[in-house]
């Protein structure tokens, strides 16, 4: 039934479906058709379910066909003689706009699943073993896995913004053309940087291109205008960029007026002060009227102003991206984005924190360590005894000890090394025999590792079976603690079957292997 709150986007009368007259309604999330005279819909499809729409031209009947993901298709025949074509086209256009929005959502999941399967061969094998052979249903398989990955996906969508190089204007190195001209190489990166940094230029571009000037002409004029060049002496020529220059001046002035609100930064101390007259006691306020200054000072201050302005614009363009969206209109005119944000930033509580940070050192605070409980060992000598079990030592009587010591002392007192008769040749050869492969001492080496005895394909299959068994066990353990009747049912009914099937599969494999051997 049509929900009352649904927004109806298009109504087309006299649409036939299955030889019945009726009306076609296109809503925000679905398309529906109801027969004439009745007020309920017999056909209703969500846009998400529609895979594609087909509208064959040139046929006698003006139709619109919708194919769903499930494969079934619905045909609508526009039977209004006069407006049929227009109706159908209107419906088609609206669908064309709406379908892509919903399409993405449906496909995204499938795409995600495919991507995961392709990336992880172990997962793919598990999928093949369990879902394809019907041991676990596909929903259960994806139940835990999809939720995890959706989080990752959305996190990676927030890409970082690329900043602007402050030297982007300098990168446009003009090359002499050979015949008294200059070539400027502009890449799209540079153009983007210019637009982001100088919104005034962007505005000019939007106004003039492509109506008045071509892009090439626009950029040629840009480079020719004095706006771009070092000495921005306003020549009074009617230049499209002279407005930009005036705007920049305005912006710079308002920036200066606002100043920097960070209490720890004192820009005024960086002023140029001359010490010639009065050695600093004569603190003259620098005059801002250009009439007093010499020509050289004028051009110097102009270029310094331009540098400052450029840097401020680059910073503003790079920093103020998030809050830009709602203030888009305002920021076009006021080129003081960076600093206005700055002043907002340094509200009283933040200012206090900033000052606090500057005056306190963490290391010099009092130690307020966490409360710990001391380890209290009653029998710490237990640790110093190793795993060597205290077997009863061989008891030697003190007489034995005395005898042994005397014996050895006597022997060594008369010791004379006799290195030519250390051992006989027969003992030597028997020792060598024991050390040769196959001898007494070399027995352990002849054992083969088990992974050399089993062929690798059998090993591979066994590994697959093992991971599949692990997956089943994971489902089993995730049912505990048994809180809901659903889990209980799953445990006793569903899982039992799964295990049984898995066991049968394994048993079949095992008998196959054994038959192969015999």
């Amino acid at each position: 039934m049509a929900a009352l709150s649904e927004e109806v986007l298009l109504v087309v009368k006299r649409v036939r479906q299955r030889k019945q007259d009726g009306t076609l309604y296109l809503m925000a999330e679905r398309i529906a058709w109801g027969p004439e005279g009745k007020d309920r819909f017999t056909v209703s499809h969500l846009y998400a379910d529609i895979r594609q729409k087909i509208s064959p031209d040139g046929k006698a009947k003006i139709q619109l066909q919708l194919v769903l993901h499930t494969g079934e298709s619905t045909n609508f025949h526009f039977s209004n003689e006069s407006t049929a074509l227009r109706d159908r086209d209107a419906a088609k256009d609206l669908l064309q706009q709406l379908l892509p929005k919903f399409k993405k959502r449906a496909n995204k999941e499938l795409e995600e699943k495919n991507r995961m399967l392709q990336e992880d061969p172990v997962l793919f094998q598990l999928y093949k073993d369990l879902v394809v052979s019907q041991v676990i249903s596909a929903e259960e398989f994806w139940a835990n896995r999809l939720s995890l990955n959706n989080v990752d996906h959305s996190a990676s969508n927030n890409k970082q913004e690329v900043g602007i190089s402050a030297a982007f204007l300098a990168d446009i190195r003009p090359q002499t053309d050979g015949c008294n001209g200059l070539r400027y190489n502009l890449t799209s990166d540079i153009i983007e940087s210019i637009f982001r940094t100088y919104p005034a230029v962007k505005q000019k571009y939007a106004e003039n291109v492509p109506h008045n000037l071509t892009e090439k002409e626009f950029w040629t004029r840009f480079f020719q205008s004095h706006y771009f060049h070092r000495d921005r002496i306003s020549t009074g020529l009617q230049d499209i960029f002279s407005e930009c220059a005036k705007q920049d001046e305005k912006g710079l002035r308002s920036m200066v007026v606002q100043g920097v609100k960070n209490p720890l930064v004192d820009l005024l101390s960086l002023e140029d002060k001359t010490l010639d007259e009065g050695y600093g006691s004569n603190s003259m306020a620098p005059s801002t009227s250009s009439a007093n200054k010499t020509v050289k000072e004028n051009s110097n201050s102009a270029i310094i102003k331009r540098f400052n302005h450029h840097s401020a614009m680059v910073l503003a363009a790079g920093a103020g991206k998030k809050a830009d969206a709602p203030n888009d209109q305002a920021s076009e005119t006021s080129s003081t984005d960076g600093n206005s944000r700055d002043s907002d930033f340094f509200q009283p509580p933040v200012k206090k924190v900033k000052i606090q940070e500057a005056i306190e050192y963490e290391d010099l605070h009092m130690e307020n360590g966490k409360k710990t409980v001391a380890l209290n060992l009653k029998k710490s000598d237990r640790y110093s005894h190793g795993p060597v079990p205290l077997l009863p030592q061989q008891y030697t009587t003190s007489q034995d000890i005395i005898n042994s010591v005397n014996c050895i002392q006597q022997e060594i007192a008369n010791y004379k090394p006799c290195l030519t008769q250390v051992m006989s040749s027969s003992t030597a050869s028997s020792a060598i025999a024991a050390l040769s492969p196959g001898g007494l001492l070399m027995q352990a080496g002849s054992q083969q590792a088990i992974n050399q005895m089993v062929p690798s394909d059998v090993q591979g299959e066994l590994k697959h079976l093992y991971t599949a068994a692990g997956e089943l066990l994971r489902h089993f353990w995730s049912c505990f603690p048994v809180n809901t009747p659903f889990l209980e049912e799953k445990l006793t009914g569903h899982l039992e079957d799964m295990f049984q099937m898995a066991y049968n599969k394994f048993h079949a494999w095992q008998t196959r292997q054994m038959l192969r051997k015999t």
């Binding site: 380890l375 209290n376 060992l377 009653k378 029998k379 710490s380 237990r382 640790y383 110093s384 005894h385 190793g386 795993p387 060597v388 079990p389 205290l390 030592q393 061989q394 030697t396 003190s398 034995d400 000890i401 005395i402 005898n403 042994s404 010591v405 005397n406 014996c407 050895i408 002392q409 022997e411 060594i412 007192a413 010791y415 004379k416 090394p417 006799c418 290195l419 250390v422 051992m423 003992t427 030597a428 028997s430 020792a431 060598i432 024991a434 050390l435 492969p437 007494l440 001492l441 070399m442 352990a444 080496g445 048994v482």
Partner: protein
């Protein structure tokens, strides 16, 4: 195979277990293989090592139950000088001087060591951990005294006679881990009964452990198995490593256990569960598995 470069020094430290009580008893058990024979075999091993390459160095430590004593090199001996009155460099058989000097020093020192043995009933265990520690210190010193550009590779060969002493466990393990950190191999040649500590030492440091069936063929075993250094061993067919028993012993009975209970506070191991750890006296509350209440079956109304 990488040949040892001219600048690579190979230092072998042999630690010989000269426990007088064990060797005295051995003299009665097996008169054909006594301490003298053992020392002869060790000398052969030492000489062979010295003649392998000019850059090889040797040290021999005797591990007694009262001290650990360097048999070679002699403390006050400077290279090239004879010591004392007799001039061993002109000793009779035309042997390479270094070897004859070394042998003489060793013989002399063992005599001195044994002559000052005192009989004490409570000191019957070989001070093996201490000897190993001395060996490590010596290696460290030699490493520091190398000339610029020389590299050194050291290993320790332990020839063990008497049984393990359980009281030296901690010291032993510390020595083993120190050797491992310094990449010093510890090899073991065991004469009588298997030693768990030395098995662990060899496993951890990468050395070879061998218990020899025939004591009189000791020299042959030493030359065959323990003379090649670690680079050359990979090219030879040598006895395979033994399986080491790394099971822990429970703190209550010192039984070796495979599965046990560990206190999470003091990490002491027990074979049985007890609610209070006896080492650190922490009380543990283990939640018992909850009993699942039987559901009352709903009576269905008869239709």
């Amino acid at each position: 195979m990488v040949m040892a470069s001219e600048d690579e020094v190979s230092l072998l430290v042999i630690v010989v277990d000269v426990n007088p009580i064990w060797w005295g008893q051995q003299a009665n058990r097996e008169p054909q293989f006594t301490l003298s024979k053992c020392l002869d075999a060790v000398m052969v091993m030492g000489n062979s090592h010295l003649v392998m390459t000019r850059n090889n160095k040797l040290a021999i430590i005797a591990s007694h139950c009262q001290e650990s004593h360097f048999l070679y090199p002699f403390k006050l001996w400077k290279s090239g000088d004879g010591h004392g009155d007799d001039n061993p460099s002109t000793s009779g058989d035309g042997k390479y001087e270094l070897l004859s000097v070394a042998n003489d020093i060793m013989a002399e020192e063992i005599k001195i060591l044994m002559s000052r043995t005192e009989v004490k009933g409570n000191q019957t265990d070989t001070l093996l951990a201490g000897s190993l520690a001395k060996a490590l210190c010596y290696i460290h010193r030699v490493t520091k005294e190398l000339e610029a550009g020389q590299e050194i590779k050291s290993r320790i060969l332990v020839i063990k006679a008497a049984d393990d002493c359980a009281l030296q466990y901690m010291n032993f393990m510390n020595v083993i881990f120190a050797a491992q950190k310094q990449s010093i191999l510890i090899d073991a040649c065991v004469l009588d009964s298997d030693s768990g500590l030395l098995q662990q030492a060899c496993d951890i440091t990468g050395g070879l452990y061998l218990m020899i069936p025939q004591k009189i063929a000791l020299a042959q075993y030493l030359l065959w198995v323990f003379l090649p250094d670690s680079d050359q061993r990979s090219q030879l067919v040598l006895p395979p490593p033994v399986h080491v028993d790394y099971r822990a012993a429970c703190f209550c009975h010192r039984n070796l256990i495979e599965i046990g209970y560990v206190c999470s506070v003091c990490l002491s191991i027990f074979c049985n569960f007890s609610p209070i750890c006896t080492t650190c006296e922490t009380a543990f509350k283990i939640p018992l598995p909850q009993m699942v209440k039987a559901k009352k079956k709903k009576l269905k109304p008869s239709t």
